[in-house]
């Protein structure tokens, strides 16, 4: 018992550090380790992972609030989409075949790998040109943020609100079904679909993660998918790891770690998919 708890604590620590450095929730690291490494049923791995998503999201948001990057109205409005998605996802987990979850998770890892590769090649941010949007004006979603790099106050507008809300439902669904924060999907909804600048998009996505995860976590908590001996050491480990991670991040170039992570995610993703199809090593 003691050994397992300490090992899970270590997994949480690692996921917290890596998550903070790479700007991802620990979810995509935790579930593969718990299922492939510890042989835990994927349903319990997802339940434990969703708890650590809440822990990291709440911890990181405190830092973002100090930077004045959040758009609280955008977060609140889009949370309607993510929370409904998350609950549907959590209920679906009890219905679908575990094999399907493995394949889905593997696909997600492949996507994350590609996403990270894209970030490696990304250049300087360009402010999107947007047209005034009547829905955005009505919901008062347009705002401004202070860019530390250029030392300027940047005003921005958002558009395609229904499109963004639909992508957010999908992000919530993925979060609830796979126990992840689904940050990249949320950023995609705001940045790519709604044309919000990347910095407030990332900060707002982080704030939304906690509420989205809480929606599915309550379902998991009461139906017994959150095992105390797994979720507790994991949450404590992740909290400590994330705190350490933000300190390490300032000294370590994230680029270097991403270069290692791209092939690693590809490999683990492939393994999850193979496990889903019943191929074991």
């Amino acid at each position: 018992m003691l050994q397992t708890i300490l090992m899970i604590l270590g997994v949480g620590l690692l996921a917290g550090i890596l998550g903070a450095i790479l700007g991802i929730g620990g979810g995509i690291i935790i579930t593969p380790i718990l299922t492939l490494g510890f042989g835990l049923d994927i349903k319990y791995a997802i339940g434990a992972s969703v708890i650590s998503v809440i822990a990291t999201s709440s911890g990181a948001t405190i830092a973002y609030i100090k930077d004045d990057l959040l758009n609280l109205r955008v977060a609140m409005f889009l949370e309607i989409g993510t929370t409904i998605g998350a609950i549907v996802g959590a209920v679906l987990v009890g219905v679908v075949q575990p094999n399907f979850l493995y394949v889905l998770f593997g696909g997600l890892l492949l996507f994350s790998s590609w996403n990270m590769y894209r970030k490696l090649r990304a250049g300087v941010e360009v402010l999107h040109k947007t047209k005034p949007d009547p829905i955005a004006a009505k919901l008062r979603l347009n705002s401004s943020y202070f860019d530390k790099n250029t030392q300027q106050q940047v005003d921005y507008q958002v558009e395609h609100i229904p499109g963004g809300l639909s992508v957010m439902f999908g992000a919530g669904l993925a979060s609830g079904m796979l126990g992840i924060g689904s940050g990249p999907f949320k950023v995609m909804a705001m940045d790519t679909v709604m044309k919000m600048p990347l910095k407030p998009s990332s900060a707002t996505s982080n704030l939304m993660m906690g509420v989205t995860a809480a929606a599915s976590a309550t379902v998991y908590f009461f139906n017994g998918a959150i095992l105390p001996q797994i979720a507790a050491p994991l949450a404590v480990g992740v909290l400590i790891g994330a705190t350490l991670g933000t300190r390490i991040m300032q000294r370590l170039p994230a680029r270097w770690i991403r270069m290692i992570f791209v092939p690693l995610l590809l490999y683990i993703g492939g393994q999850m998919i193979l496990k889903g199809f019943g191929v074991t090593f």
Binding site: I54, S58, F77, G210, A214, V219, P228, A232
Partner: protein
């Protein structure tokens, strides 16, 4: 005139965001302490307080276990507090928007809260 009003909403929002930050911080620290106590108790006593492969997942059994100082019950209480932290953030936001007379966002935020409570009921009924 318009910019002055915009400036006003911006400072108001900053105030709301600050109070949310405090709530999140307190919530995370309190839950981490409860979970930590439960874990330490589990490590020192060596047993969870429940038969093998079982644990409490409902309010009544958790609270009964907490009074009897059962490690798993204390851990579950801590985990539940952690889950409640973002929910509490939503509740505070409703209050903050109401104070600013932003009725539209009081409604939007209340809808989010209702969805969250609905999820809780779904889990409780084990659907």
């Amino acid at each position: 005139m318009a910019t002055q009003k915009e400036q006003q909403t911006h400072t108001e929002m900053a105030q709301v965001e600050k109070s949310i930050g405090v709530i999140l911080q307190i919530g995370v620290i309190v839950s981490a302490i409860i979970i930590g106590i439960g874990l330490l108790l589990l490590l020192f006593t060596g047993h969870s307080g429940y038969p093998a492969a079982t644990f409490p997942a409902h309010f009544s059994t958790i609270f009964r276990g907490v009074i009897q100082l059962k490690p798993f019950a204390i851990i579950m209480l801590g985990l539940f507090c952690l889950i409640l932290t973002p929910v509490l953030r939503v509740v505070v936001s409703i209050y903050a928007f109401a104070k600013e007379h932003d009725h539209l966002y009081v409604i939007i935020t209340t809808v989010v809260l209702i969805i969250l409570l609905f999820g809780m009921v779904l889990g409780y009924l084990d659907i």
